[in-house]
Symmetry: C2
């Protein structure tokens, strides 16, 4: 562990810290330059008697942060900030997160905990594959590795063959990447006779996208690595909010820095342990962009507040199933692309390259699943079984098109899984 004392605090101490820091965050925000303080103008830190009172505070949404563009939602003067990141935002106005020196140190701390949770020490060599820049991924790994003291290979995005060459030549032991990228690494490795087992690579820390357990199993087998699922976003201060551990019994969220709630995506009602809903994040130590009850739109559930086999005591949540924005509604059925992925990748003959094409044909929804084959594709019997499994899950018939390897365009950054032609 990077910070054994904090990572193994007894529950009551975690909650004591959380309560104190929540009150401080409220006081800090109320005295700040942020326009978000309007939302809590009638709330006073001493109103919060227990963590249970959190639920009476108003939510903060992505639109609230967009409305602040560029700096209206930032709590400190920009000239007191040293760094910034920006959420790409497929549409419209981006969200900025400005960071003070303390924020950068906080980010380094939580990312160092994540790296250590994935088994890294200062002796590891970490190749960073998310892009560096406005996107928070590259720099998140950078600050974590800097804090942990390990050797950084700052590869950034793309140039897959070069990435493989560096892994081998430099004795790289761990990679950080966008979750879909290992599929590309494996593909280029196969094309070039590159054998991951002849390298020192043993860990892949993946995030920024929803990825299924089946995809996980697939890349662990093919790359001979152990994968770790890391979460976090620009708004909360970047990647590093939490990560799963070797026990693989949920994603630990660093509770001395964040409070996690799960709420009903429509009613906003707080849901009990084990029930699936939207993750809501309250920051406890951020200065540039302190957040009260931020609606992340990510869907998960709380697994346990009990100590984990790994020794860490911080809450565990389920791997993220999808974002409310990514949820598809086809013929009245709601589902996430990652759920389709999980079904497809049970078949060895299918590759982790797929697209869901949704159209409106004569007033009716139609979905075509385009998926690349690998190793000869499916037998007739498998094809039949796949059709049945999809029907069981979706409750409607979808068309399956199995296409040759390399058909679906490889893109830098996040994979394009859905082409919804219904939207104009």
């Amino acid at each position: 562990m990077f910070n054994p004392k904090m990572e193994t605090l007894p529950r009551e101490e975690i909650e004591k810290i959380q309560l104190g820091r929540l009150r401080k965050t409220i006081a800090f925000l109320k005295n700040s330059k942020s326009m978000l303080k309007e939302k809590i103008k009638d709330i006073h830190p001493e109103d919060i008697k227990s963590l249970d009172d959190l639920k009476y505070l108003p939510f903060t949404t992505k639109d609230d942060l967009r409305d602040g563009y560029p700096f209206g939602h930032i709590a400190v003067d920009p000239s007191d900030c040293v760094r910034m990141h920006m959420s790409s935002g497929t549409t419209g106005i981006p969200v900025l997160n400005l960071m003070t020196k303390n924020d950068v140190a906080q980010w380094g701390e939580i990312m160092a905990r994540c790296l250590a949770c994935a088994g890294l020490t200062s002796k590891d060599r970490l190749q960073i594959m998310p892009s560096f820049g406005l996107f928070n991924g590259g720099f998140g790994f950078h600050y974590g590795a800097e804090t942990l003291g390990c050797f950084i290979v700052p590869a950034g995005a793309g140039r897959t063959l070069m990435q493989l060459k560096l892994i081998k030549d430099l004795g790289v032991t761990a990679i950080g990447a966008i979750a879909s990228y290992p599929a590309r690494l494996i593909e280029v490795a196969q094309e070039n006779g590159f054998d991951f087992r002849k390298t020192n690579l043993r860990v892949a820390i993946l995030g920024a996208e929803t990825w299924s357990d089946e995809y996980r199993k697939r890349i662990e087998e093919m790359m001979g690595v152990k994968t770790f699922d890391i979460i976090g976003m620009t708004e909360t201060g970047g990647v590093g909010l939490g990560i799963d551990c070797e026990a693989r019994k949920g994603i630990h969220v660093w509770e001395d820095h964040y409070i996690i709630e799960i709420v009903h995506p429509e009613t906003g009602e707080v849901l009990p342990l084990g029930e699936e809903g939207e993750i809501v994040v309250t920051t406890l130590t951020r200065e540039g962009l302190p957040l009260i009850r931020y609606r992340t739109r990510d869907i998960s559930k709380i697994i346990s507040y009990e100590p984990c086999e790994c020794g860490r005591t911080h809450v565990r949540i389920d791997r993220i199933k999808g974002r409310t924005d990514d949820m598809l509604k086809v013929k009245g059925v709601n589902f996430y692309p990652s759920q389709i992925e999980a079904i497809l990748l049970k078949y060895k003959g299918l590759a982790p390259y797929y697209q869901l094409v949704i159209e409106n044909v004569k007033g009716k929804d139609e979905m075509t699943i385009i998926v690349e084959k690998t190793d000869g594709g499916l037998t007739d019997q498998e094809m039949e079984r796949l059709n049945l499994e999809l029907y069981d899950f979706l409750g409607f018939r979808s068309k399956i098109q199995i296409v040759p390897e390399g058909t679906i365009q490889r893109v830098p950054g996040k994979a394009v899984r859905v082409i919804d032609k219904r939207k104009k």
Copy 2:
């Protein structure tokens, strides 16, 4: 100044520090893991009685560093290193520079001095436009800004319209970029009615390419900024080896960290002050890749060892004219692309987008200068004058093709100035 004490040391103290650190570097290298120690196996630190004895030490070449790939030329164990950068190397094996914690701190220090020399303080907002990653440019500015404490907008390369938007929206006061990139910024600004004078931008720190005084004047006028010429390369520890100051009387090289010599590119003989030749760099404080007399292939001359108007006492060298690798030999005449640029950009009707196409036609060299026009191009009279000026400089007739704006492909990263079809 970032470090007034060191930046204004009297000459004799600079030289005292240099002599001591040179001996230490030799001792360090001799006791290191680097295969480069072979070169100095018969030399002992105490053999160096004065800085004048430097000339008896052997040179280090880029090929020496390539031969070490990946780690043979590195003086410390890779597991004692925390960072690395890599020279792209248009052909063949790349050169790695591995950095210890002290090296990263040294880089931060020299880059902070450079930023301060360009007039920046902790209150500035610096948009970093070179790419982050294996190339050293982005991270060099990052560490410098981190050390100086200014606000970093980590834009990275490309997305020019977004770059302009951020400059305006975020109140950016300074940019760091590859020298040819402002031409693209100006072009996209004009296409989009963007007015640099309605922004807070006042400084552009440019490097990584050779750029003429005429280009400099052009972008200063069009962007309303003051430009600063920054030098440095992966091998020496990255961008930040030196920068010119407001006095604009040469590029200061940080002499407590580096010794500069100018040598004859062919004979290797050390040249006296004022004579043009190849820059040779000896590092005095680097640990991962200490260099004795590294042949940079960059052409410059020493301007003065006297204190500068700005108060700094560190040596001043001329702006880099070109790299020996970039030197063209056409019809027996040697010249640099930047010298052609300087002639073209005297004409307001020509844009800073040009290419020199060199072919062998029936056994004879032919050069065509393709250059984009702007604001209506050249009058017949100007065209005649340009032809004459080029002939005066080159001593042979070249063909000039003036093409519409946007004809020459815009590339991310360094501009492609020469297409030499003679080489197979």
